[in-house]
């Protein structure tokens, strides 16, 4: 989604109302219940969320950055049209336990970092990991890698994890956002 994303694709920026901001947080928590206790760290109560509307109906949500290192704002989540809200990798790195996860084997890492969708065998081989409990098709999953600690991508399941295990053929995860893509390299 963000392979070629850059500043030029931004149409507008606007402060969102506090009621909308509360709705956004509730929506995010309903999608990712494990983030509930940390949601005020993702979007602090007193912060002002800025909605950044971009080409292709992509909407980014940016907040004041809490940790001070020169940059003032940070994109914490985004949304394509009316699809589910998706956490950015920086948010995922801060709260890794809050999101459902899959793991690819080492061989798949460079393809993921190249922005390719993830093939089922890369999710079922010995180095890979899928959760025991099924995750439905269409759900957002964070993508980890064999031998690595941090997530390298986030994507959408193109089939349920049970189907990935049993069919083991074709695209399993549509890649949405990954280390080094346009969104990762964009600094608000």
């Amino acid at each position: 989604m963000f392979k070629k994303f850059s500043k030029e694709e931004i149409h507008s920026r606007s402060n969102i109302k506090s009621s909308v901001q509360r709705g956004l947080k509730a929506n995010f928590v309903s999608l990712y219940p494990n983030i509930e206790q940390a949601i005020d760290l993702v979007i602090p109560k007193k912060s002002q969320v800025i909605l950044i509307k971009c080409e292709d109906k992509i909407q980014l949500y940016s907040v004041d950055k809490s940790d001070e290192d020169g940059e003032n704002r940070e994109i914490v989540m985004f949304q394509h049209f009316n699809d589910d809200l998706v956490p950015t990798l920086t948010t995922i790195h801060k709260f890794p336990e809050a999101f459902p996860r899959v793991q690819v084997d080492r061989g798949a890492i460079k393809f993921v970092l190249g922005g390719a969708n993830i093939m089922c065998p890369g999710l079922t081989s010995p180095g890979a990991k899928l959760p025991d409990e099924n995750i439905e098709e269409g759900k957002i999953v964070t993508v980890y890698a064999e031998g690595k600690e941090h997530a390298l991508a986030v994507g959408k399941l193109l089939m349920s994890t049970d189907d990935i295990k049993s069919k083991n053929k074709g695209h399993g995860v549509e890649l949405i956002h990954y280390l080094g893509d346009g969104l990762w390299n964009y600094h608000d």
């Binding site: 206790q37 940390a38 020169g70 790195h93 336990e97 460079k110 690595k148 080094g180």
Partner: protein, 194 residues
């Protein structure tokens, strides 16, 4: 989830990824050098021999060998390119020029900052805040962007730039401080003696 504090993640200043992924980037050697200088513990953890064997993957040996051969080829190519670029960068020079506006007022003009590949406007803001003065970006005659700062802050600016260069593994880039007034005088003196 009892623990709600955000996890703090170190990112590589060279390629911007978590350092464990630097090996898949196009600046691996520079990334390694940066990490060794800035976080030796993690460097040892990632690149000590004992741990390299832990990272052995579950792929078949031949497949792994082919993948790493491919990757190495690509890396070698990209690294050669990156090294060339780095060498070019290290050859470049940042010039801090002190220009006298009148007897008491000075302005500092910094050129060659593009080597940092950072948003110059952001650097301007840093200067403006640090020195409580005005700072702006201006195109020079060569079409490149200079930073202008009000006030006699040449030495202080140099310190900040040195820090930025070190952070990016570019500390060998020379910073030259010149005084515009003296140059003019010297030139004037030279023309007189001719």
């Amino acid at each position: 989830m009892a623990e709600v504090a955000p996890k703090s993640v170190l990112y590589c200043k060279i390629c911007s990824w978590p350092p464990e992924y630097c090996e898949f980037g196009s600046s691996f050697k520079r990334c390694q050098a940066w990490l060794q200088e800035n976080n030796e513990d993690l460097y040892n953890q990632l690149y000590s021999n004992a741990n390299l064997s832990n990272q052995l993957s579950s792929l078949s040996i031949e497949k792994e060998a082919k993948l790493s051969a491919d990757l190495e080829k690509k890396q070698a190519k990209e690294e050669a390119k990156a090294e060339k670029e780095l060498a070019k960068k290290l050859m470049s020079k940042i010039t801090i020029k002190r220009i006298e506006r009148n007897k008491r007022k000075h302005i500092i003009s910094i050129s060659g900052m593009e080597v940092l590949e950072m948003d110059l406007k952001k650097i301007c803001k840093t200067f403006a805040n640090k020195f409580a003065t005005g700072s702006t970006v201006q195109k020079n005659a060569e079409g490149k962007n200079d930073i202008l700062i009000q006030g006699d802050v040449s030495d202080e600016a140099k310190e900040i730039i040195e820090k930025l260069l070190t952070e990016q593994g570019l500390k060998d880039v020379k910073i030259e401080q010149v005084d515009d007034k003296k140059i003019k005088k010297k030139q004037a003196a030279q023309t007189q003696t001719k």
